[in-house]
Symmetry: C2
Subunit: 338 residues, 2 copies
Amino acid sequence: MALTQFREILLKSRPAGAPGVENFEMASAPAKAPAEGEVQVRNLWMSVDPYMRGRMYDRPSYVPPFELGKALQGGAIGEVVESHADGFKPGDLVESMFGWREGFTGPASALTKLPQTGAAPQAFLGVLGMPGLTAYAGLLEIGKPKAGETVFVSGAAGAVGSLVCQIAKIKSCTVVGTAGSDDKCAWLRAAGVDQAVNYRTAEKQSGLLAAMRAATPNGIDIYFDNVGGEHLEVALEIARPFARFVECGMISRYNDETPPPGPSNLIYIVGKSLKIQGFIVMQFAGLREQFHKDMGQWMREGRIRSEETIHDGIASAPKAFADLFSGGNTGKMLVKLV
Amino acid sequence: MALTQFREILLKSRPAGAPGVENFEMASAPAKAPAEGEVQVRNLWMSVDPYMRGRMYDRPSYVPPFELGKALQGGAIGEVVESHADGFKPGDLVESMFGWREGFTGPASALTKLPQTGAAPQAFLGVLGMPGLTAYAGLLEIGKPKAGETVFVSGAAGAVGSLVCQIAKIKSCTVVGTAGSDDKCAWLRAAGVDQAVNYRTAEKQSGLLAAMRAATPNGIDIYFDNVGGEHLEVALEIARPFARFVECGMISRYNDETPPPGPSNLIYIVGKSLKIQGFIVMQFAGLREQFHKDMGQWMREGRIRSEETIHDGIASAPKAFADLFSGGNTGKMLVKLV
């Protein structure tokens, strides 16, 4: 049944420092009837991701900044309610990037129908979606883990980090992850991570470096970075020669208006022949089919646990987003709309 | 004619900060007669290289630290004066790593006979030796330059940097180099570098970043780093997406007892999908034959100029080494012994 009105979340102001609910506002937009080639979609799930923070700055990047007064773009899973496009019919589940809205009317060409896999629809925003491919491609294509190597994952309880840890275990690596609470560390251990370090506790004791040295007495071969800052400095210190650093994110830095200085030990890049490589998931789009095949199989075999932190209703999206930066999620952060 | 006495340069004390002549002393050692399988060599040329600074610290690295009271190890070219080893006869020119000595008696198995190429013997310490292979392999294997790309080389007038600039020109790149004097910049322009920036002048004017932005209005695709520090920060700033950073050295940092903080803009590694990779030349030993072939041809075609800065006599080695850190060389720094 077609809808007449959609609520959406607009960017009201660009956050200075940590984002808060005051940076967003809700609005309503009339739901247009689909023209030829278009469909109307009611969203079921919205994705809330750290990378969106970067688009809230008004500066050039690999994607343009969000515009003030416009709905935030982002991943969503929805259900077709009306279709004037070949190949789409009411009830079809689709993935879109039209963002933080209860629904939309748009061109069918911009939508991806979900494959029939038996997985929950929202898995395509997490373990089978962008965070999953990020973890899979980043670890395997840049990190290139070999059996027996030691992998250090920061932000290990996050949407990407938690999958990196588990894929590294599947690849027969020793895995050490950091997270910001004892609950998250317990979750990581239950998911098979060899050692989980609560970095907040470590900072109050002898420091993150000492904790990580104790956890990785022989050093690390791969660092999968979601955090940056002190975590990166510690990783440089404990890296073995020829270690690979997969630079996926630096969430500790996203809210800095004036970025602090970087690690003082970058000279290890030369002395230890390190490779430090950033990437965006789009460059690995060609791996999607293999990724779905591998990840689907690992899930069926019970070798991958995908945790979700769920907020209810579109009005909760700003709070969910702000929570990303204070450690409010284990696994994928989602907003459930229906 | 066999010798009876060799002078050598010992490490007297570990430098605190910039190395000075007081950190070294000269000694004499008796010249042994060669045993079976050994040769006696009189050195003609000694190599003076920035990487040796790292071995003066007492800390673990990819090569062990120099020992106090022992002759410094380093590359040298010499002439066999007496041989008890198959395949070596008086007059043969050989390369060794026995260091800063007028000569030595040692196992023939540790020596490499110079190929007959018509090149001057000392070229095998520079353009046809370790610095040449470092430039060749670092630029081509890690930087992977494509025609039309822009390459930024710091320390561009040094032994490695000057060759990187010229190989990048041969590969049809636009090349911008930094150096510490107008004379060096003039030399770089004469060698075909598109733009040479005197970083000392730039720092007194509107800064290195402004100078490099003006020199590379479309950004850079490759940064070949010999300097680190501010140069690295500037390179991160002007890097284009997917730029490659070849981390060959960070001479600006070698004398820091307490390293200063690093660049505050490392987050570009993620946002611009950069690859930052350190290396040691030994990992590219397998390229030596191809390197000799290519470099030899480029030299015969007059496409590579190899500059040398020459100090005379073994007693001058400590001064030559100290000069490396105050910009005292254009091209390869050498000590001529005979």
